[in-house]
Symmetry: D3
Subunit: 241 residues, 6 copies
């Protein structure tokens, strides 16, 4: 195991520059442009005074996520999903992850019969788009909840905790934090970790790409993810003022 | 016919503030963020070293346009077209318009067997998204052509003229230039005009929304469109340096 | 600019032989077989005692258009849209045009909560199918309105004016009226014009195919369209008796 | 079992007025407007100088059928299949039947690597559209084969026999020939029979709608179908001159 | 006409080994694993306390059939229909046949506003999957009806008769009973016959694959089908106890 | 934290009865009926002498997974995915997981330009269908590889290790092994773990359903999964003889 040199020059446990800019669109009830280095995701929260049919009449709300990537967000242009007539399995998998993650830190009863849709649209991608989506999507969600409370739509803020996400990986046999595209495309393994601000693990999705992960690597990757999420919770609090 | 007061306070022949910012994405061969007031469209030009099957072997290239709108680009969230499984008739109509317009100012033989796709994604909408798409899309296209020439992919710049577009309308019985959403939703008629920088009309698409247009109104709308496009050609030249 | 010889031998401002035959199907509330030379379109008007969901309870009706082409209406067989699983962008664009045009001459309040669907099916195509569809579709619509009034479904005829459409083009640098397929495939520009019988312009859709149109050409094309539509209004009145 | 009175006044073994008009479209290699009473089907045969991929290189041709119904061919308007995005099970079932039936009287080797598509579009429906489609489709196919032979595309006529089809049913406990819509909607059973001109049965598709058929009824229905098809073969020969 | 030797060694009027095993799944209201030799179809009956929208409020129930084939039920793997995005014409044709056949032996009024869906999933195919589906599907349906009666959902058993189905064919110019895959792929003709236990014919679907069938062959095939169905009715009664 | 009583009466670290029956279908190159208690999955391996287009000419093979559930595999009937026209996000997510997992224990170069498709069809579901699919799918894959080697298609067995999968969860605040449906529907968290027989972790997918997981719970769940997979590797070796 040689000394680790990351393509970006970062140390093994260093995040990329993170920026969470709020109020970036004119119409949405909450919005956040999340940047993790060269990965830029526009997150908006949209409120509807209704819930999906299967939830009607239970006095509870719903939070859901949608995800998309502009065709030229990547090195080579990808086909527009609207043109191909369906969302890929990858897109659906990410949407389900965003929705589950954000619902886990929201008291749906306190939300009343309201739905909030978090749209995460990737303007530019350099690895970690789903973790930036969750981290920025939380900010947009929290802003929309504040707005609904201020407007008198709901009486209490349904947000119970913060949620943030980061990717960790194994690159040249070293566990590393916040994997970017050059590392992701040549790394041995990667894992997306979603955490709550009380230190709990909401989601853990790890894959051995080139080889299985050892138990020791898994343990270190979880530790790095904890460190990274703590820094992201800090950034979220700063963004939300 | 009362004195005209436009919701925006503009005079009848005044454009909104127009901004054409270039080099806004990291990967595309050409890019332009076109702003017509609160209408913001991200235009990227993507190069592929191939042409559609029906054009193969003719030594000619192709320019095509794609159009999309982020779900919360508007006052109320629209359904993601990728989720609904197809592009609306409106989207396809706009895409065809963008493609036709830009091809008409590009020498496809000079382009060789290369394809350039202009993606126009509306980040925020306040009326006139298709005209902003064409005007900004031209800038992205021109930049991509310069890039291809600089890289030696093509030997001559295929751009023959500039193309720009503007909407004109009839609002409270007055022909007006550069219709925004408040005017569009309450106006009597509107028309999208695409022009070439030699003063020719590439496309004219007028609709009497509330009532048919008179011949006199048509004539004045065409005159206003000419004035507006001349200003846009100026802005394009400034953006392209 | 040489002397104009049209492939059909017509003069520059001459329509093809136009025939608008009514009562051509057994079941429809109104029907018209519109022939513009070798272009034959079967137009039927179908009444439903309901309106689209978004219009319910407003006391207003709706008129909508659908368009189709038999697979062998053209020189080479086209793919059946029902088999390809979707309507092309061109089909949708034409359908939207037919609907907008016919609604603009119909008082939707006088129609009550009734919907009339105008189906325009091209049996044989030789250019100008959309203008024949609108011209014949108006006849079918007017017949259906008379039928509804005679049956006591509505108390007043909702038709406020006639609507007719014609194509004009630039062929060998001459503006010409009623473009057929040989002219359309080799012409420099073409424009579809929909007019109301009071001389207003409902829709104007012009495209420079080979080169942009000059302002002078635009003006002459609009003048020719006015002449052609006046003749079509006459034919419609004759057909409706 | 009471005396039979058919809604149309026909005797139990009487066909409707049958008309097979040829050369009804300008472009198709063969065409026939088949009328069985008020059921009108436009059949066209289109030639392509190629075969489906799975048949390539075997020196054999292909004959296939497509079927459609104009939205207002029936009492109440049906939804356009192109708009609903797929062909119904019924449409596909009929298409498969038309194709199988016509291939069974065509020597595909003699056809060489050519494909003929028979489009059967129902302009007006009053029962028996699939049998009219096969009967008229055969005429269109035979004309197209003659055309290909005359043009030197093929050296021998691939048609080996005639194919015709008729429906038979049980109406008020009586077997009857050539079921129209009023009988079909209230009858006990119906059966579509496709025959070859040498007296063979190509397809037999019978369904007990209100009750199962007895063996005696089956036998009589087959006998009636034989009689009807013999008359249709005569009409086909007259149409083909 | 040579002496017949069937690939399976069976006599011309001999069924394959038939087995109808009940209660093969844990959840369905009725289930039957139908084996006709190497053709294995899992049939389940599922009850829903509702009917399709168009049947609501009429006090009647509905029975419908669905059919599927596991991708590797056959010699070569077939594409999963869920992946190809639609059910083939063949699948829909079979589903319609199953539904019609089973409804014809069920008193839908006695069923009340309940729907029973019969799923027929082919685990292994060796010819005759649709006839095994109907024969086994009837057993599953009858069991579900008994269950609903025992549970007090309905007061009387809606089953009026048994329904069973068998295929017959012409193989080497001999009519034969219960066609398996080797015979089907090389036979001259085949016919699926659905009968009711009172000797009636519910469906008869015969096709001349290699040549038309003679009337004499048709008659003998119907006789063989009667014999086969009588044996299947016996097996159904044994299975239902 | 009370004493744990599992609905099934199992101890916290006890698997359900596991059965891996091979050679269960007549046609597939490899097959295994995997039963984890009442969860029954039919896994087949199908060989094709070709690879996906993007892999052509590289001398490497491919292994892919497909997943389906019979409509009545569950307590209430689910809609057939082939009828709804698309595979759900859940299905696609599982398919991607199966494919990734099995490819990770297969030397694709040793496989040559061959593709093996593992179909996993759930006949009956009681929790853990994806882990049973992977565990049984590995057996089917290994059998197919042996078959290809025996037939001389490949010269060396490409299987490098075994792959097996098990679910673990948190139920009433206790980590438990091999979660069944009653536990899954009421548990706090669950995690699917795919391991290789050398003790590596191929995939780890954990979700806090009712609450986030603590780090201590994560650690114990991973330990239980290791124990369970070791027992499954034993069962696979026994099945493969």
């Amino acid at each position: 195991m040689s000394t680790l040199i990351r393509p970006s020059g970062r140390t093994f446990d260093q995040l990329r520059d993170v920026s969470l800019e709020t109020n970036v669109t004119r119409y949405a009830e909450g919005s956040c442009l999340a940047k993790f280095g060269n990965t830029h995701v526009l997150c908006t929260a949209s409120w509807e005074k209704s819930v999906p049919p299967w939830l009607k009449g239970q006095g509870k709300g719903w939070v859901t996520g949608e995800y998309g990537m502009l065709p030229r967000a990547t090195h080579t242009r990808g086909r527009r999903e609207a043109a191909s007539g369906k969302q890929s399995g990858r897109t659906q998998e990410i949407q389900r992850l965003i929705g589950r993650s954000l619902r886990s830190v929201c008291d749906l009863s306190a939300l009343g019969e309201n739905q909030i849709t978090i749209d995460c649209d990737v303007l530019q991608a350099d690895g970690g788009t789903r973790t930036a989506s969750i981290t920025g999507g939380f900010v947009a969600l929290a802003m929309a909840c504040r707005y609904l409370k201020a407007e008198g739509v709901i009486s209490a803020d349904p947000i119970t905790k913060q949620a943030a996400a980061i990717s960790v990986g194994v690159y040249q046999d070293h566990p590393v934090l916040d994997v970017d595209y050059p590392e992701d495309s040549r790394g041995e393994a990667d894992m997306n970790v979603v955490m709550s601000s009380d230190g709990g693990f909401i989601e853990v999705q790890g894959t051995g790409e080139e080889r299985p992960m050892t138990r020791a690597e898994l343990d270190e990757m979880l530790r790095l993810a904890e460190k990274g999420c703590m820094e992201l919770f800090e950034a979220q609090r700063a963004a939300l003022g």
